[in-house]
Amino acid sequence: MYQYDEYDRALVFERVAQFRDQVQRFMAGELSEEEFLPLRLQNGLYLQKHAYMLRVAIPYGTLGARQLRTLALIAREYDRGYGHFTTRQNIQFNWIELAQVPDILQRLAEVEMHAIQTSGNCVRNITTEAFAGVAADELLDPRPLAEILRQWSTINPEFLFLPRKFKIAICSAVEDRAAIMMHDIGLYLYRDDLGQMCLRVMVGGGLGRTPILGLQIREGLPWQHLLSYVEAILRVYNRHGRRDNKYKARIKILVKALGIDAFAREVEQEWQHIKDGPAQLTEAEFQRVAAAFEPPAYDSVVDSGVDFETHLVQDHDFARWVACCVKPHKVPGYASVVLSTKPGAASPPGDLTAAQMEAVADWSEQFGFGEIRIAHEQNLILPDVRKQDLHALWRLACERGLGTANIGLLTDIIACPGGDFCALANAKSIPIAQSIQRCFDDLDYLHDLGDLSLNISGCINACGHHHIGNIGILGVDKNGSEWYQVTLGGAQGKDSTLGKVIGPSFSAAQIPSVIEQIIATYCAYRELDEPFIDTVRRVGLEPFKERVYASRPEELICVM
């Protein structure tokens, strides 16, 4: 993991002191709400329905055991004993007192963490995939460049008041698990024919009100130019992005208005002025940062021991868990383990109690090298587990409610906090997730259905990424009551697709049966072991629409 040096430390502690002063001035009435708003947002602090919410950055989803214990401590001492992991590799605390925020930030700074720029119209937390550095299909480790970008974008004075928020993701594996096409800038790192590290740059992707996949603006950008190229994009956006309407202010609208070619020309022109300047990255800096991500001291073990094989054969539940929660590792004898935060209706997706966080921190040390990852699917990952330890870890995880064998399956639901917490939401998300999870609680059946993503957003801002769920559910407001629009066919990864709306919205009570009808249609049309998304792509939406709408009394349909 990256370790702070004196500069990194000085910055986070000075930031805490600065925000402590700003909070005091706000509470004393010296700063108006309007003046305080962007200051608190850029320190991760939202005002929600019931209380302040603090969003803490987990840069590129990587946490140390000590850091996770601090998050547990914050949950226990300053919140109601739990935290919520988000789709952007952050954690949110929902019940925060403003006056205590500086103390919380101080606690975070002590373990090399912060909440800087987790909100506001600035460059947000840089994200990558949860299996960075360990995935079997990885080309290059994206974390050094992610850390370099994190530093460069942190309190970059020119770009703190952009037209709108700005999200950057980087990935470098055969499978794109970082959803880079859904970001304002998506970076794909690879080696060119000469073996040089290069970047493919995508721009203008995003979900929200106007979901658009990013478009390629540059191929083969030498990595040394990463910062200057991103700077050129940001400068063009900062100058020319719309500011008259917050719903038209994301860079995707500018790219669409100019056209990708004209936008690319603007960027190129700007970039020519700065590309060979001091922002050009040096090999020394790359090596300094990359050294922090050197692989740990793996044991040399056989890939698959006798004990592990025996457990697989004898223990059906264990084998089922291994099938979906254990992911291939670069190093023989090791695997990465996904701990599901979705045990079913008992707990909202992404929520972990303080005790669970502490348990995960312990396991990361007992079964790994003290490192934990956060996936954008809101699950936790232990990246370096020896296969011979999997059975022991699985038993512990089950005791703590973190061993549900549903990763990638229908009940591994991605959901935003929704109307229970969020002031922006049109509708609740959590009860919808729970009602579906209650309907589909037979694990054998879920495994038969296979890979299927279901995403729920409580409003058009799309924090639950409903557009890219195989099944997407969007909360909408209709004359003050909560309704839900359903989309089908969304997908993430290299074949990213935006889902299509199947028709008029449903009430909350109807959703479980709607999902049942969708699944029944899939089963009727499925060929052999065909995954859900392939069936939808093959047969189209019609059979699903017919079945879902035929089975419901018309008067229940809310015509949107």
Binding site: D5, Y7, A10, L11, Q18, E35, N121, I155
Partner: protein
């Protein structure tokens, strides 16, 4: 103008005798003295007024590049922040200083507040007309900012990785 902080040999100084009058609207009758006028007015009056009597202020929509031939005739350039949340002025300042090589005084006007002063300073502003209902003395505390700058800026062109 009132409430102006200026960096004099890098030392922040509260001016009590700033000679500039800000003219927001070109239609009003022009007062005597040194005026800070919008680009359009400046261009109309250029050549009619003694050199150095008219300064220029830019709105966030104004382009920077066409100013290049005018720089030699300008005693001061100001950039307006209609709202402190409108960040275009930061990029305008960067371009004026770095691309056009403007060496003279660069003043932030409009919604200029204590908590943004250090960012403005990093982007090359060297005078700050603090919003008139705020205390400029209090705003002085906002100029220092943080001791660490990861990236680069107008006043520190080398990113931290070249200084680390």
């Amino acid at each position: 103008m009132r409430n102006v902080i200026a960096l004099r040999s890098a030392v922040p100084t509260l001016l009590d005798d700033d000679p500039w009058q800000l003219l927001r609207d070109g239609d009003e009758p022009l007062p005597a003295g040194r005026l800070l006028v919008p680009l359009k007015v400046w261009l109309e009056r250029h050549g009619q007024r003694p050199e150095g009597q008219d300064g220029l202020w830019l709105g966030p929509d104004d382009e920077i590049e066409p100013l290049a031939p005018l720089l030699a005739h300008l005693p001061l350039i100001a950039i307006d922040f209609p709202s402190f949340r409108d960040g275009r002025g930061y990029s305008q300042a960067y371009l004026l200083r770095t691309r056009l090589g403007w060496q003279g005084e660069l003043r932030a006007i409009g919604d200029v507040l204590r908590d943004q002063l250090s960012h403005m300073r990093q982007c090359g502003f060297d005078s700050f007309a603090v919003r008139e209902d705020k205390s400029a003395e209090d705003a002085l505390k906002g100029l220092a900012g943080m001791s660490v700058l990861y990236g680069r800026s107008v006043i520190e062109p080398r990113p931290l990785f070249r200084r680390r």
